[in-house]
Subunit: 203 residues, 2 copies
DNA sequence: GAGGTACGGTAATGGTCGTTACCGGATTTG
DNA sequence: CAAATCCGGTAACGACCATTACCGTACCTC
């Protein structure tokens, strides 16, 4: 799909400018002229490299998804279950609440109706990898008896939701800025505690 | 804010057509002409009633948010904690995975950058009411010793995330259609079980 | 050093769309 | 019944914008 193209500075500048604008203002509100004003170069270059505005947008989404989510987040060697979950929750929150990642998600949601395959490939290249990994982690933990038997995929989805909690919902709506490290740690720890032990008093 | 206007069939027809189009195709991709084609009437009526395309959009979002989320979902008299949570989870999933609600959310997210106050009022009039109610329920349960002491707001956010889990994320991206009643029950029950007791074996 | 190619800048084209103006008929009002 | 108001339909206006064409220059090749 992506040829191992030699690094092209014009292409990189376009991508960077396009990311700034598309992620901040959305697809429709971003004009080709605005991208050129920011990146320099000329429109011919965009059409030579990407064919159309939509082509640029799709390339942008795909490459950013891979770059953001590909960063070796998922699948390190396993520590204890609890430590693994804590690690994952922290990294997940860092990633998901990052301004760029939020912008990417917002614009993919906004265009999901018009470009369903793009939304699907975003999910597959991005969030689904984390989900699949956690499902595996949980499945192995269940086999070892460290957690109750469960449907690993359902449980993984629960854990993701628990970590994102309502904070992510607010962030996506633009109601909260990015989280501090302390907030991230607090939410991640609370999520792992609840996921493993629940809120009901033991014993 | 909203005068108790007498029911105006032209206004209602416009609202309904606008909802179909805005929620399905988004703000920019919906033209005034398309709304008129579907609703009948003339553009003059839109500009007389709403002033502009954006005015129509804002009225649409506000009224639909109130209508969808106002439906006495939150705050019924309390059963047992567990039954209350199960009820709430089921209703929340029914509401959030409903096609209309998803469309509303998508378009609010898409325009959140351009219309931040609209996104804020959507959250306040809608999801926040459920969150505040659950926080109260949890606070009382903690006072009774039925659950561990907790920060009620944090715990409420966790519960919401746990119920939405990853399924909602997928639905918002358009990757899944609405859920069947059986799926809703399954996910809601699993969420309550995990929230109360966690995944770790007891004893 | 000559010829050609690549590229940035700018203008032109064609279409869409929000908004406003105009027209004719229907309905209401005195 | 006459006058005025309302409203649907259509056209006009102006702006924006994706896309393409054109032009001049700089660099690269031979």
């Amino acid at each position: 799909m992506t040829e191992p193209s030699p690094p092209d500075p014009r292409r990189a500048a376009l991508m960077s400018a396009a990311a700034d604008l598309f992620f901040e203002r959305g697809y429709a509100a971003t004009s080709i002229d605005a991208i050129i004003d920011r990146a320099g170069g000329s429109k011919r270059t965009i059409y030579a490299l990407f064919g159309s505005k939509e082509g640029l947008f799709e390339a942008l989404v795909r490459e950013n998804t891979e770059r953001m989510f590909g960063a070796a987040l998922f699948g390190g060697e396993e520590l204890s279950l609890e430590a693994t979950l804590r690690d994952f929750a922290t990294h997940l929150l860092e990633l998901f609440t990052n301004e760029r990642t939020v912008g990417l998600y917002q614009v993919v949601v906004a265009e999901a109706g018009r470009l369903p395959e793009l939304a699907a490939s975003f999910y597959r290249l991005g969030p689904e990898r984390g989900r699949a990994w956690i499902a595996q982690v949980l499945e192995r933990a269940a086999a070892r008896g460290e957690i109750l038997p469960c449907e690993p995929d359902l449980a993984a989805g629960q854990f993701l939701g628990l970590v994102r909690s309502d904070v992510y919902y607010e962030i996506v709506l633009g109601l909260r800025g990015p989280l501090s490290d302390a907030e991230i740690r607090h939410i991640a720890d609370a999520a792992v505690d609840t996921f493993l032990d629940g809120m009901r008093p033991r014993g």
